[in-house]
């Protein structure tokens, strides 16, 4: 019983120390990088999710938007051709 109480005490102290470290280092990092990272970039990194609320993969959209219309057309044509080849190979299945 005494041993268990001592373990709990130790865990409590470790927890408080971890919270202290995290708060202190968090503040330091905030101060250290203030002015180094543009506010807009920081906001983008924090607010740009990978998926929308309705489950759309935004990373795929961002990648596709980075292509030119010609590249998008070529990509689509390559994919269609690959899919048709796979379907041909598996005809009748």
């Amino acid at each position: 019983m005494k041993k268990a109480r001592s373990h709990l005490n130790l865990l409590d102290r470790i927890g408080r120390f971890t919270r202290f470290l995290s708060n202190t280092l968090g503040e330091c990092a905030e101060q250290r990088y203030a002015g180094c990272v543009a506010d807009a970039d920081r906001t983008n990194a924090q607010t740009a999710p990978d998926y929308s609320a309705d489950g759309v993969d935004l990373t795929l959209i961002r990648w596709f938007l980075s292509l030119t219309p010609i590249e998008r057309l070529q990509f689509l044509e390559e994919r269609i051709s690959e899919i048709l080849q796979i379907r041909e190979r598996n005809a009748g299945r």
């Binding site: 929308s52 759309v56 795929l60 990648w63 292509l67 057309l73 070529q74 390559e78």
Partner: protein, 165 residues
Amino acid sequence: MPEGRLSAALRAVCENRIDCIVVGGLAAVLNGAPLQTYDIDLVYSLAPENIDRLLSFLRGAGAVFRIQPERRLEPTRSHLAAGGHLNLITRYGPMDLLGTIGHNLSFEDLLPHSIEMELGEAIRIHVLSLETLISVKEQLSSEKDTAALPILRQTLRERDKKKNS
């Protein structure tokens, strides 16, 4: 790299000076939406001289109606002039010719809402804007059309964010 069938079809459309706008899935892809599509949807001008050019193009492309391809039923001038939806199969693959889309929107109605895109050497073609594509799909409200809406809306949001950043 050999030219793909979609590019070849669009090139032939341009070479035949057909007044039309790319709509549907291909327009979505060209506007940056990561979707998969197999056919070309075109809204065409019902002007008689355009129908002549379209008819000549379709003959060259070996176009027949998809509904019973074994009957080899070819589209005629009256089919095209009627301005309905013609679902065809051509040597370039499936091609849908549409007199109107949404709530009776014609080529002339849609032209101001399209973007002229250059898709290769000698391929300059009008493509329906993403905003209008979304609004047409919202009007249609069929299950097939609404299925693509979340991706189209998110593509528009991401594109606008990119433009403004």
